[in-house]
Amino acid sequence: MRGANLLFRTVGDRELVERAAGGDVEGYNLLVSRWEKKLYNYLLRLTGNRDDALDLAQEAFLKAYNNLSRLGEADKFPQWLFRIAHNLACSKFRSDGRRPQADSESWPEEGEDAAPVMTGGPLPVGSSTRLYPLELELIVARALEELSADQRHAVILKAIYGFKFAEIAEILDCPISTVKSRIYAGFEQLKRVLGEDVAAKAAFQK
C-alpha cells in the first residue's frame, strides 16, 4: 500500500545543491550522504585521526551549508566542499601547532578494509606477484610517506577521488601548472617505489 506511492528517480548533485540552497535540509542531507564517506576518508589521510576527521567533516558540511549562496555554480559543489575541508584541516593543524604528518608514526594510513583477516585472499596485482591486502596497504602507506605533503594531497585527490587537474587547483588553491607538476612528480615517484617494493616482495616470495 505504501510502496505503491514510491517512484524511483535519480537526482544529481546540482538539483540537491539547488534544493539545499532554497532551505531544504533533507535535500542537503542527501547531498551529505553522497559525499560524507569520501570527505571523511580524505580528511583521515590528512589528519591520521578518526575523531579529527569526523569533526572536520561535520564542520565542513555545516560551513558549506551556511555558505551555499556563495557557491556560484552548483556543479562545483564537490571541489568547493573539499576545498573548505582542506582549509579547515590546515588551519586546525596551524592552530594546534603541529603538522598533519607529524603523527605519521602513529599509523597514519588507517584505512581498514572490511575485515581483511576474514575476507582477504591474495590480490592479483601482477602476473607473478600476489600481495595480501594488508601488505599492500602497508607498502602504499610507506610509499606515500616518501612524498611531500603537497604531492601526496594532489596525488590522492587525483588517483583516489578522480578530481580533474582544474578541480584540484581549486581545492588546493594553486595554479593548474603547480598541480600538474606535483602529480606528475609524485606519481612518478610512487611508480618507482611501489615497483621496487612489489618487485622485492615478488623476489622474496620466489
Binding site: 542531507n29 594488508l134 611501489l194
Partner: protein
C-alpha cells in the same frame, strides 16, 4: 609523437586527463613502441595499487542535519501543535460519539417534529441518523420547512459524507504514522549496521600492527642473503 612527449601523455591517460585527440596520438605511438607499452602497464599498475592500498574506511557515525526552525514532524508533533489541537480534539470526540452510537444501533428518530433517541431495530419507515453534520458540509438546503423524508435524506447524506471524511482522514494519519515508524526503524538499523562494520574494521588494527612488524622483519630478512635459503 616521440617517446619523450608520450611519457607525460601516458600519465594523463592513466589519470583520466587525456582528451580524445591525445588518446588517438598515444595509441598511434603505442602501436609501434614496446617501451611505452610497458611504461603504460606500469603506470596503470601504480594507480591500481594506490587505489587498492588506500581503501575507503567506514565512518564511525553518519552526518545529518536537522533544521533549527521547522516544526518537528510526525503525528505527535502535529497533534501537539496548538493550531491543530482543538479541531483534532473535537473531531476525535465526534468520531468516538458516532462510533458509540453506531455500536449501540442507536437512532435519532424524528416523530412528528419531536426528536428522540431509539435503540434496537429500526422500524421500516424511520431511517438512522446519528448526529448533525460538522461545519463545512456542503449539502444544499431546500428553502422553507422540511418534510420528514427530506430531513431524513439530508441527515443520511450528511452522515455518509462525514463518515467518509473521517475514514479518509484516519487512514491518512495511520499511514503517516506507520511510514514514520518504518523510517525510524530503518535509520536505526542502518546506523547499527554502520557501527558494526566500523567495529569489525577497527578490530583489524591489532592484526595490522602485528603484521606490520612481520612485514618489516621479512623485508630485513630478505636483504640478508645468508638466511634466504632457510625461508619456506
Amino acid at each position: 609523437m616521440n617517446c619523450g612527449e608520450t611519457k607525460q601523455a601516458l600519465m594523463d591517460l592513466v589519470l583520466d586527463e587525456a582528451g580524445s585527440e591525445e588518446r588517438q596520438q598515444i595509441e598511434a605511438h603505442l602501436a609501434g613502441c614496446a617501451a611505452c607499452r610497458a611504461e603504460l602497464v606500469n603506470l596503470r599498475l601504480t594507480r591500481k595499487l594506490l587505489v587498492q592500498g588506500l581503501p575507503q574506511e567506514e565512518m564511525p557515525q553518519r552526518i545529518a542535519f536537522v533544521s533549527g526552525q521547522a516544526a518537528k514532524g510526525g503525528l505527535r508533533g502535529w497533534l501537539g501543535s496548538r493550531t491543530f489541537a482543538i479541531p483534532v480534539a473535537v473531531a476525535v470526540a465526534v468520531a468516538v460519539l458516532a462510533c458509540g452510537l453506531a455500536l449501540a444501533r442507536a437512532r435519532l428518530v424524528i416523530e412528528q417534529g419531536h426528536w428522540e433517541l431509539a435503540f434496537g431495530q429500526a422500524p421500516a419507515a424511520t431511517t438512522a441518523a446519528t448526529k448533525s453534520a460538522p461545519a463545512g458540509t456542503s449539502l444544499p438546503l431546500p428553502a422553507g420547512l422540511l418534510t420528514r423524508e427530506q430531513a431524513q435524506q439530508l441527515m443520511a447524506a450528511a452522515i455518509r459524507e462525514s463518515e467518509q471524511r473521517q475514514e479518509a482522514a484516519s487512514a491518512a494519519r495511520l499511514e503517516a504514522a506507520l511510514s514514520q515508524l518504518d523510517q525510524r526503524q530503518r535509520a536505526t538499523l542502518l546506523a547499527l549496521a554502520g557501527q558494526m562494520r566500523y567495529f569489525e574494521a577497527t578490530q583489524n588494527v591489532f592484526y595490522k600492527e602485528a603484521s606490520r612488524t612481520r612485514t618489516a622483519l621479512e623485508l630485513v630478512a630478505s636483504r640478508l642473503p645468508a638466511e634466504k635459503g632457510d625461508r619456506p
